[in-house]
Point group: C2
Chain length 569, copies 2
């Protein structure tokens, strides 16, 4: 009874199982937008598909009112004017429940097979999705392609394979036979049914709608749940395309497409989301966004398993370096990438006020701060190249935050607006770098300043830097921590601070790996051990509670002969 889509993708699944066991490098989805991989016309076709949505009503044959919604704006300033069918949450909840019974009955191999087929189709749509991500989030094209396409697909597949790894451990049946001494054994046949929780709700964010939305969505699907996908009002299109493709695959495979539906909304949809999130039918919630909204869900949606990724304060500790320029280049790239609009972007950079050791001698605090600011300045100096790194600012809130941050301390490097060569109306900002002091400014740097805002913080010592790093991660949350040191003891102390803060540690990054990037199948994204996220992407805990097991047992004839009298106690 193996499902044909399971058979079709079984080789990929087996490789993914091996990958999560060894956690070495592996990816089935090519990250380069190369014509050789994706086809000669893939880019042009994808762009055309993207542009075909402009000024139209997005077609989606799911329950809807006759009205439409949609107020997305491109951070690059082009007019989108895309409208989506409006749906009543109530109608989607009912449709999901109706669709769920047939989906549930299909069983684990069908759930996994269909999930993998959806991913394979999403991969083919990577260019359409890339342009959609670019013009809703403000990511530059290359990042929108990679993070929004293949890397998001990797994270989705990772969630699917973790789900399968747990599902396959539950035997469908068991023969149980308990010896009874000289009497015949007690024998029972048991049946174990995987019972999905019910309906999941995925609440997307406006910066990485697919990368952050897929893990929950695919973890739900692969464990037999129906899913209502509610994108952020500012980044609907990438998830709308995703839902359209998921529904196509479901329908082709003979399932009710309402296993996956889209709930498109307009800005200020908070009340609608809160009402939906506490409905008894919603059993799973995956959320990426503000601490305020995430905490509200954790504390109010008691009927659901709630997985959240919220705000955090990512930190870099500089103790000593071989090559300050290489370190500064790497840090500057991390600060400039997508203008710091990443949940993994560093914010606080701790440097001892007495300076640091380097291979070329002592550097003062100001030398280190200047080196970092200079490296950022260099990245920002050529607008045509800079915009391909920074992309555009997703929303006014980020831009306003940069203005607010300017008053926090001494400006080491001011944020500038750049003119985008291709998009004259794009809102582009380069990083703002400030100088703060651990003695006086803790209230300023213990909160998240989401966007292109960072602080070089003078500390009394590396020991204090590590203390701050561990305690701030533990108390305020963090997804990343970075240490620069040539001293093994300091690196071990950084390991301890990382454990204390429950945060992933990167050590001496000076090359082509950046602290804000994680690789699916190898790096866990988030730990679930500090306030920045209550779950990791992905691990067993992320999937194992999305389904339950219901068993039955009935007497059957024993298979063994009774023991001879006296043989057992």
């Amino acid at each position: 009874m193996t499902h044909p889509l399971f058979t079709k993708h079984e080789a990929t699944l087996d490789k993914a199982l091996a990958a999560i066991e060894t956690r070495g490098y592996w990816s089935p989805f090519a990250e380069t937008p190369s014509p050789k991989v994706y086809g000669e016309t893939a880019n042009a076709d994808g762009e055309a598909a993207f542009k075909a949505h402009f000024g139209k009503i997005f077609e989606l044959d799911q329950p809807s009112t006759s009205e439409t919604v949609g107020k997305e704006r491109s951070p690059f300033g082009i007019a989108l004017d895309i409208r989506y069918p409006k749906a009543e949450p109530d109608a989607l909840v009912r449709a999901a429940a109706d669709a769920q019974s047939g989906w549930r009955a299909a069983g684990p191999q069908a759930w996994v097979g269909v999930s993998l087929e959806i991913l394979s189709r999403l991969n083919r749509a990577s260019f359409e999705i890339a342009y959609s991500v670019m013009h809703t989030t403000g990511q530059a094209f290359m990042m929108a392609f990679q993070a929004g396409g293949p890397h998001a697909q990797d994270r989705a597949l990772e969630a699917v394979v973790y789900a399968w790894d747990q599902l396959r451990r539950i035997p469908a049946e068991a023969h149980w036979e308990k010896p009874q001494g000289k009497n015949p054994p007690l024998a029972m046949q048991k049946r174990f049914s995987i019972v999905p929780r019910g309906t999941g709700l995925v609440l997307g964010c406006c910066t990485f709608p697919t990368w952050n939305g897929y893990p929950g969505m695919f973890a739900d699907l692969a464990t037999g749940n129906a899913v209502i996908v509610k994108p952020h009002p500012g980044a609907i299109l990438p998830l709308a395309v995703t839902v359209r493709i998921a529904r196509e695959v479901l329908r082709e495979a003979g399932f009710d497409p309402n296993v996956v539906t889209l709930l498109a909304t307009e800005p200020n949809d908070g009340a609608l989301v809160q009402d939906l999130a506490v409905r008894p039918e919603i059993k799973l919630i995956d959320f990426t966004g503000s601490t305020q909204n995430g905490t509200w869900l954790e504390r109010n949606a008691h009927q659901a398993q709630v997985y959240t990724e919220k705000a955090g304060v990512n930190q870099i500790v500089i103790d000593s370096v071989d090559d300050m320029k290489a370190a500064a280049r790497n840090i500057a790239f991390s600060l400039a990438l997508y203008s710091g609009q990443m949940c993994t972007a560093p914010q606080n950079i701790y440097v001892p006020r007495d300076g640091i050791r380097t291979a070329e001698g002592h550097l003062s605090f100001d030398d280190v701060a200047k080196s970092i600011a200079g490296a950022v300045q260099k990245l920002a100096s050529d607008p045509a190249r800079a915009v391909e790194l920074t992309g555009a600012i997703q929303n006014d809130g980020v831009a306003n935050r940069v203005d607010e941050a300017r008053t926090l301390g001494e400006i080491l490097l001011d944020s500038q607006s750049l003119a985008h060569p291709a998009f004259p109306d794009a809102r582009v900002l380069t990083p703002l770098v400030l100088k703060l002091d651990a003695r006086t400014d803790e209230a300023k740097f213990t909160k998240e300043w989401f966007g292109p805002i960072s602080f070089v913080v003078a500390t009394d010592s590396t020991a204090q830097s590590l203390d701050l790093a561990g305690s701030i991660a533990r108390t305020h949350g963090a997804l990343t921590l970075s240490i620069y040191s040539t001293d093994d003891k300091v690196i071990e102390a950084a390991h301890e601070a990382a454990i204390e803060g429950g945060v992933a540690l990167s050590i001496n990054l000076t090359g082509g790996v950046f602290v804000n990037q994680t690789a699916a199948f190898s790096d866990f994204h988030g730990t679930g051990a500090n306030p920045a996220a209550n779950a990791a992407l992905s691990d067993a805990a992320f999937v194992a509670n999305r389904f339950r097991v219901v068993q039955s047992r009935v007497h059957v004839a024993p298979m063994a002969v009774p023991a001879v009298a006296g043989q057992t106690a």
Copy 2:
């Protein structure tokens, strides 16, 4: 670096891993209190050890005030007068945190090895624990021995092996190497550290202190957490003996024994528990008890992973039988066992008002009701034998509930007080069986009447019986559901009702297996899919979120040679 206690118990662990994979019969702990297994003097020694506690202060060298607490009363009426060292919750929390760092650093094999050694010592103490369970819970000796000793140890081992099964999937290290076309690959060495949540709190119940307390306690230990064990004020001794043994093993293995501490209290400790449960240091809570207290924890202890087992309404659906007498005998045993003071004991028995089919012809509703009441009456008729089945009533609340229930409907069989031949002051009650009607009495039978109280409920049809069973389980919670039918279609419908209600189903039990008994390694206890429990004993979800993974990564030299130019996309 394999821990010697891991090596010592590795063969048992391997068998346990095989058992949870196949879910056939397996148990490493002999359930018969046989001198051949436990030693010729084990019973006498255990009883003597138990009696040696009378009128004494229980010795436990953990942080305590100079005061003592303890007001346990034996349901069999003997004087216990055992006092326990009083501990300030604050002092135990600090001691646990201090102990936890060394325990955490020891790593998974040490946690699992020490856990298994504790279990092996607990097994040897099974008689002392059995008498302790008997005289705090009111269980008859055989049940106290089996459920309180080897079966509880089985459930503990099951939690340990599930923990190990997840822990062993996280590699300690990984080499990650990403091809870069014609350039050298990016290569990183990654380290994955298992980070326990911190301190767990186990809140015991007064009916099955070890059976319900061990899974959480051992799941916490096996994943590297410290544990504060807070027994129910009415059943401290079994867990005090357990904690004493755990501390002995920890000390012998070179760990701070405060990894496990006891918080003994006196009745009405609700405020103390609530204050402790919301402390930031408490990261895990395992609770068995009332819906009111369990729900309070779920909704208020946001800083912790909360696992609860609460009230439920267990149900039997009678559709048709081959042999009514055999069915009635089995049901009667389940009603009488420990006077129904089991979270798995049946309460509502649905019978169509028009009667049922049997191999010997039609039986009216009243015939079926009489058959069940008669079988119970027969079990209760010989007090000397009956008390070995019913044990004694744990607390006045249960006895009062029986009085209250008498007014709910027509009495099919009244509850009687029995004189216990060995314990003249024992409080023994036989089952009360009432007749109710689904048309008029739903408000009465949709709540739990914990104790020797059951209802034979007249329904319009088996279809209505199954509807009630599924919806009551889903809405009010249930740990067990039982169906009697000779019709395969009805049994399939019962499977559907079980899935709807998220409850384990037993089919046509007429022999030596009873609906209120589950076998570790084969039967999941609870599903986590209805209000009776938010977790199952045991599965991956029960353990996977008791620890987190913190990783580090650092560049290393690549192992592979770069691909030739043009070979990669």
